[in-house]
Point group: C2
Chain length 456, copies 2
């Protein structure tokens, strides 16, 4: 016997139930994206290596899956180079395509390549898999989906407001209540950097500040001092050590704190625009929370920064994030194209919904009606009924073989098919169907019309 | 300025309109699959090379895209081997994963790997991209979708009947009327081979016979003689030279022709079962046609063979195909698992629907309502209306910047947005909206309730 087959580590098969649950999340996000005016695009799974390489830092380059050139790919590689076994140099000779690492760079490439066909501002969404040669671990895979929505070609802050609404709309629709949409602004971080007198200390600063709940003001101060942030600087930003209260209260504190920083003050104004308008418009189930420790993709974002966390009590990292980046397409030669976008973390959302039993409403991919197969003549009679049921969109099937009745009923039970139809010689003769409700065990003889009504 | 970016040859970007049209086809097929009791699965984009290699013949092996191992992939390759530049041998040392080449082998792998979780007979469908390093040409891509439905674990012929119905249901739903579902059976071909006395001549025979319409009986006879088929053999199968009429007439001819071949006779019986039952059940818009020259995947199929062709007048190869294969999972060590399946050719169906203007009904991904942005205060008023519209699933958006009115209206025109809402100071004051119908040019002042009603 051959070896039992397996799949590469970090990849997954999805069973029918898993596909149905995943599609429920996808279609919910998709519906909200479209309601907000976003349009779908799709890009190829692999791009030219030159499109991807150098866009994600050295670590990113390493994690990109490269595709081997077809045919006699070694023919033109020099012997000396081969013997050197310099993997990076040789890779560029034997591979010119690579699997998509995220959706942002392909999107930037798409915008530049198709700039003459696109109406700007361009609101696009994209839901496709990406691949990373990361070490697999719980919740981290080598193939996973990203669900992104971005707007390019506008600097208007209303988009920032809309993305808060959009997160709220999606999670409310998924019945995942109590999420927190954390909000920050790169300009506020820049302002804080100004005030502590060292841009290079900013990450140390936010990392330390983020531990406030765990180690207290004293612990945070100590860590900051250890990292070389001066006592004078720490004193200046002390208000952040007691950064609590409503968003409006936080805004007031930030305003005072950053009053000497022009950029910081602009950041507070931007943040206030979003907070004020969200208060005016209201949210369904999510909370909006200013969080100055939020610094994801610091080198990337230039304005708003978002991160969404699961409801309290669910242990899970962020389930979404995004922000504004002022020069999305510059890497491909198209300047002055500001963008802002958000992403949904499908796999983590899946785990959260599973933990909270929020997949109840998902219709699993199984037939509603199974016709038991008693033989050729009876099956032919059933097939006629199936034509009618299926025309009325009732998921239904005939057991394909005239197997033992017990086997067929076991099949129905294991697949949790709610209705079974039994047609023997007498049913054929009387043009009737015996319908069995598999939950209650009740049986009734009925006409095709009644069968249709009951199972509809 | 950087070089304008491009994508690898044989791959495609899909614009919002293209995505919408493709999704229309996908969702139509998906809906019919589910109505017929099929369940979705998904498998990873790449498989272990050992799963794929050797399953598609030498040519197939060449066309499989291989993924380079991560990290220092050359470290363990011997110098001698490297210098030999033997691409095939070296590939197996530096690549252990490869992109999916079709959906059938991954499905077979899935069935074997998950055999203990699956209820047999297992009716699965799968709609995912596959990759082939083929030379790109019109209608042939290096990345393309396959849409497959298969049943494994049953030899019942009702499945064969259902697949004819399923093809008819999908194409009827797509309003693609007049397709022809061609039907053959491997056993009939085996019977013909018996009669012409040489199995190895079967492909030459069917290829020649297929030219009947073009070169006539005389031409076909000549070609057969050229290929080494004896005159006596040709005489025996002469009835196939005038193989016309209804399916029942064809069945009669085949019955007589193959009466001395046990396998051929079984093939006629199988074919008759399908034809009789389809006649009893009826089709919506497709034609079923016995075609003994149909020999696709000859080495693969063991029973029924299907191929669907576009309506007369549309120049296009097959838009679907499939058949029964008696040993699907044997390659992975699970014996006696008969399968039957069909596939839809998405890209070709797309081209046919485009040619026949059958995408009219597709809702394009664009908003129904655009709110013109006259400034912060007016925009805030519009945003409140947007909350209501979006809660009622009306695709709508605010132009993100207070740009010149002309620019905003041009945007609405180019995107063919049917309704534009204009809110200036007086509208805000009166709590009203000026709604403009972009098709008729008509304008009216209305309340939010009226706005909702008109745009719903």
């Amino acid at each position: 016997m051959a070896q039992k087959p397996s799949i590469p580590k970090g990849t997954r098969d999805f069973s029918p139930t898993e596909v149905a649950k995943r599609n429920y999340i996808f279609s919910t996000i998709k519906e909200v994206f479209e309601t907000y005016g976003f349009q779908p695009i799709e890009t190829p799974s692999f791009e030219n290596s030159s499109t991807l390489m150098g866009k994600y830092g050295e670590e990113g380059d390493r994690l990109i899956f490269k595709i081997l050139n077809s045919g006699d790919f070694l023919k033109k590689v020099e012997d000396d180079l081969l013997i050197s076994k310099d993997s990076i140099k040789i890779t560029s000779k034997i591979s010119e395509k690579a699997l998509r690492y995220d959706l942002t760079v392909p999107f930037a490439r798409y915008v530049v390549q198709h700039q003459n066909e696109i109406e700007f501002p361009f609101k696009r969404y994209q839901m496709q898999p990406v691949w990373r040669a990361d070490r697999p671990q719980k919740g981290r895979f080598r193939e996973f989906y990203q669900c992104d929505a971005d707007v390019v070609g506008s600097k208007g802050l209303w988009q920032e407001v809309e993305f808060v609404q959009l997160y709220d709309a999606v999670f409310s629709k998924l019945k995942l209540t109590g999420t927190t949409i954390k909000l920050n602004n790169r300009k506020i971080l820049a302002g804080i950097a100004e005030i502590i007198g060292a841009k290079d200390k900013l990450i140390d600063f936010t990392v330390a500040l983020d531990k406030l709940d765990k180690i207290g003001a004293e612990g945070v101060t100590k860590e900051m001092l250890d990292k070389g942030i001066s006592e004078a600087a720490i004193q200046k930003v002390e208000p952040l050590f007691n950064f609590k209260g409503s968003n409006q209260e936080k805004l007031k504190q930030l305003q005072q704190l950053l009053t000497t920083s022009e950029e910081g003050t602009k950041g507070v104004e931007d943040l206030k625009f979003i907070v004020d308008n969200i208060e005016m418009l209201g949210l369904q189930t999510a909370n909006l929370d200013i969080d100055v420790t939020l610094a994801r993709g610091l080198n990337y974002y230039t304005g708003a920064i978002y991160e969404v966390t699961a409801p309290q009590g669910v242990k899970m990292g962020s389930i979404g994030g995004g922000g504004r980046y002022d020069d999305l397409t510059g890497i491909f030669g198209l300047k002055d194209m500001s963008g802002v976008g958000i992403s949904f973390g499908l796999d983590r959302i899946y785990l959260v919904l599973e933990e909270l039993n929020l997949f109840d409403a998902v219709e699993l991919p199984k037939p509603k009606v199974l016709f038991i197969n008693f033989g050729e003549k009876e099956a032919a009679f059933c097939m006629k009924a199936l034509v009618t049921l299926r025309k009325n969109h009732i998921k239904s099937e005939l057991y394909p073989d005239a197997a033992k009745m017990k086997k067929q009923l076991n099949y129905a039970n294991r697949r949790q098919i709610p209705y079974v139809v039994l047609v023997g010689a007498s049913e054929v003769e009387n043009n009737k169907y015996t319908l069995k409700n598999m939950q209650t065990g009740e049986q009734q003889v009925c006409t095709l019309k009644e069968l249709l009504e009951i199972t509809s």
